[in-house]
């Protein structure tokens, strides 16, 4: 193995040994598994989930999409922020301590993580998130299987330039492994059977990516995603919001499964003797009926259609105006998991584009 490699080749057997080595060194590794292996429900087979792995055999790299994005490791569904005594005197912030390797993250999910990084590092910084992020190693993988509702190819999310420590591409016999950070470079040194990628192999990677992109184009935005902010201008009164939201359960599924949704509620919990307490945050969603309701009872987004519209504006315009990102990466999770199938961004955006 040479000195600094930016693009390496790792044999499939070598990758196996690499994962085994990471585990042997007592790293906590989470990777993608078949959901039935986690839930023990046979009917869950064919759906994928991130879960801790204990051996290389448990790891799947040929998944289409996971049910819940890897955000659950950076912004957990429940995250303790503070602990305190109810008769105050001592109060302290919780600091995440565990180091984590997330093995197998698709480019669109890495782009979503990059967006969350931007949100939480904007002053005032959210150090709980940033600390967790710092302790998380991201090993990306290019998709080979395309989820039925995915449309990342038209959201500029087929590849990602940064945000990963290592990025794997299956080119048949072996993987191309791109180094994305210093952490990634030192990890690579742990991997056996690596060598520098030959130009033909890099070309092969491009081919694999192009193939995947073409297959993902089966669902696509009919225009450039960069037009979204201007497309949404003046569409606040469009009939589509009322029409589509007629079937909205206000269940928040579209928010909760979204890799770029980060809204949360903050609540207090107390010990049974009412002497100690903790403050934690938990996922919230702007589609839930009381999301904008104040204690006095007033609700600033009390209508279903307004909440439904807010989400699409947030994806296509608001986050762009605030942080410069289109907050939809085309993973298709909301489209697939919405009980009424009204959450599909391309269905909404393409129709707005058609102007009908």
């Amino acid at each position: 193995m040479g000195g600094d490699m930016n693009l390496a080749i790792i044999e499939k057997e070598g990758l196996h040994l690499f994962v085994a080595e990471l585990l042997r060194r007592k790293n906590t590794v989470v990777g993608v598994k078949d959901q039935s292996a986690v839930s023990s429900i046979p009917g869950d087979s064919g759906f994928y989930t991130y879960a801790p792995i204990n051996s290389p055999e448990e790891l799947t790299l040929s998944f289409d999409v996971t049910l819940i994005p890897p955000k659950k490791y950076l912004l957990p569904a429940y995250e303790q922020l503070l602990t305190f005594n109810l008769s105050p005197g001592s109060i302290k912030a919780d600091a995440p301590k565990e180091e984590l390797i997330v093995f197998g993250v698709h480019p669109y999910d890495i782009i979503a993580i990059n967006q969350m990084d931007k949100v939480f590092s904007t002053v005032p910084q959210d150090n709980h998130y940033l600390e967790r992020r710092k302790r998380t190693t991201i090993i990306g993988v290019d998709p080979v299987k395309i989820a039925p509702r995915a449309f990342w190819s038209s959201m500029g999310a087929d590849t990602v330039a940064g945000g990963f420590d290592l990025m794997l591409t299956d080119i048949g016999q072996c993987y191309v492994m791109e180094v994305g950070s210093k952490k990634g470079a030192s990890l690579l040194k742990m991997a056996p059977k690596t060598r520098e990628a030959a130009p033909a192999e890099v070309k092969e990677r491009d081919k694999v990516r192009t193939e995947a992109r073409k297959r993902c184009d089966a669902n696509r935005l009919s225009f450039s995603y960069l037009e979204l902010p201007s497309l949404l201008d003046g569409k606040e009164e469009h009939v589509i919001w009322e029409e589509k939201s007629h079937l909205c359960f206000s269940c928040g599924t579209c928010n909760l499964v979204c890799p770029t949704c980060y809204c949360f509620d903050v609540r207090d919990d107390v010990s049974i003797d009412l002497k100690k307490g903790s403050r934690y945050r938990t996922w919230d969603g702007c589609l839930l009926s009381d999301f904008a309701q104040v204690a006095g009872g007033g609700n600033f987004r009390g209508h279903r259609a307004d909440r439904y519209r807010h989400r699409f504006y947030r994806k296509g315009q608001f986050i762009y105006r605030r942080f410069g990102d289109i907050a939809c990466v085309g993973c298709g999770r909301c489209s697939a998991q919405c009980p009424s199938d009204i959450a599909d961004p391309i269905a909404v955006f393409n129709r707005l584009k058609e102007g009908i």
Binding site: G43, T49, F249, D273, G285
Partner: protein, 246 residues
Amino acid sequence: MSKPRVAIFDFAGCEGDQLQIVNLEEGVLDVLGQVEIVTWREAMKEQSDHYDIALVEGSITRKGDEERIKAIREKAKILVAIGACATIGGINCIKNFQDEKFVRRYVYGDKAHWYNTYAARPVSAVVPVDANVHGCPINREEFVQVLKALLQGKKPFIPDYPVCVDCKKAGNVCVLLKGQFCMGPVTRAGCGACCITEGAYCWGCRGLVDDPNMDAARELLGRFGISAGEALGQIRLYDGYGEEAR
């Protein structure tokens, strides 16, 4: 400061919620350490009429129940309905859609004339209720949460969003994606989506959210080939007293 006095009462129901409290095991001692239980037919002999918090299980199914629950309401500073029968009417309300005489004879046989029952109803249909611990049976963690909130003098957090939220946080596969029907999208969360997590679907035991989208529910049922009649049956299983079941 003396401990709040708690009394536990049962009306028409299976006592499964009281069993859930007993099932807290070691936890039950922690909970009970904070209060003084003065009346609990299921677990103790002594009875007292002096209590601050009344936990009421079961639905109201006859005139005599009404008088009893009103007397409890008068004595209790805080009245908590526990379990679906008490919070929404529950399974007992299935009989509300059948012939009352037939039901009475079916249950009590030749002693039917002894029991002057009427349409089953939740506790809140008769007296004001301060807090609900939903579910059939109740979720033990939620029961403890509600009790702690009441001891703190705070309004317990009872979600007004669908079970889907709990389901996503639990990381479940949506049962609709597996081609099965589910009441989750219109049912009040707070259970942690326990049934779906165990491989079943949501039966709606916690009742509907405050503003359920019934149009969407009907559309969903249609997609699964479930008729309006069958759908009504599913709602009446637990929420037969509710508006949407009539």
